[in-house]
Amino acid sequence: MKTAEEHKTGGITKYFVVYLAILVIAGLQIVIAYQNIDPSQMIFRMFALAAIQAGLAIMFFMHLWTEKRVLMLTLAFATIFVITTMNMIWTDSFRLLGGVPFAKYQ
């Protein structure tokens, strides 16, 4: 198995494919932005594509994939845990749906 250092030298084909994939996904996001779909679906698709782009950049451009697994797991767990706990704000953001309090909106 190649070491992390060995991955930073040698052929670039794999990285060029990742580069193209990130650009294609960026184009796909623009196509989705002009579709007439439900806003929640739109947000979900945009987030999913952005997460794939970010994953490709982290794993290949930043070489996290070739570092020790324990580093990847430590960083991923810490980041995802904190970001997940921040999601508690969303329910409060829907207090004024359509310009009226949520209770009167339905």
């Binding site: 996001q29 594509l49 829907f94």
Partner: protein, 212 residues
């Protein structure tokens, strides 16, 4: 507790150090920890933006295909390409090809500068249309504050990255820095690119002008 009970640790022989955590240099680990904390900072700013957008009924949708979305497409292409050139620079440095490493790093710096100029042009266009921090011609005044906060923080990172990469590349040329330093600041530059991947869909593409 009396001082007599305190044992004095046996000093380590010179040169004997603790092994590198996670088998990477300590400064690389520090950069990864900075990236994690910065990722959380950007998430907080994007969440604040999302909160305001959800909670505000008359949120503006000012981004027309031309010029805004076309500009964003060009900016994305430049930033992702700069990430790729940074990768080529780091690889050249690891292979010991100093001149190639410096060349690709300066290509990255140039791309970062073009990105920053395009971003400022985008800002000037919006300011010209009447967007201010707390007011705009279309709807909620909070739009300007949140838009300029998110994109401004990112622009600050790009400008900071351009400055640092210039210093590190020149230092690498003079022998002050090595390939590890270039790789570590390359990580930062990839992170700046990564943040843009979330700014584009959530700040621009969810607020495009639609034909009514």
């Amino acid at each position: 507790m009396s001082h007599a009970n305190v044992s004095i640790a046996t000093p380590q022989p010179v040169g004997v150090m603790e092994s590198s955590p996670f088998s990477i240099p300590s400064k690389k680990l520090v950069m990864w920890l900075f990236i994690v904390s910065d990722a959380v900072t950007f998430t907080a700013v994007l969440f604040a933006y999302g909160y305001l957008r959800n909670a505000t009924p008359n949120w503006p949708h000012p981004f027309r295909f031309s010029p805004s979305i076309i500009n964003v497409m060009v900016m994305t292409f430049i930033l992702v390409t700069s990430s790729f050139t940074m990768l080529l620079g780091v690889r050249a440095a690891k292979e010991g090809n100093k001149s190639k490493a410096i060349l690709w790093t300066f290509v990255t710096v140039a791309a970062g500068l073009v990105f920053a100029l395009l971003h400022i042009r985008e800002w000037m266009g919006l300011i010209g249309e009447g967007v201010r921090l707390f007011q705009n011609p279309w709807g909620s005044g909070l739009f300007g504050a949140s838009f300029f906060s998110v994109t401004g923080l990112h622009l600050l990172h790009v400008i900071g990255g351009v400055a640092v990469l210039t210093v590190v590349a020149l230092g690498y040329k003079r022998g002050r820095y090595n390939s590890d330093d270039l790789e570590i600041w390359g990580l930062y530059w990839h992170f700046v690119d990564l943040v843009w991947m979330f700014v584009v869909p959530f700040v621009y593409l969810l607020n495009i002008t639609r034909a009514s």
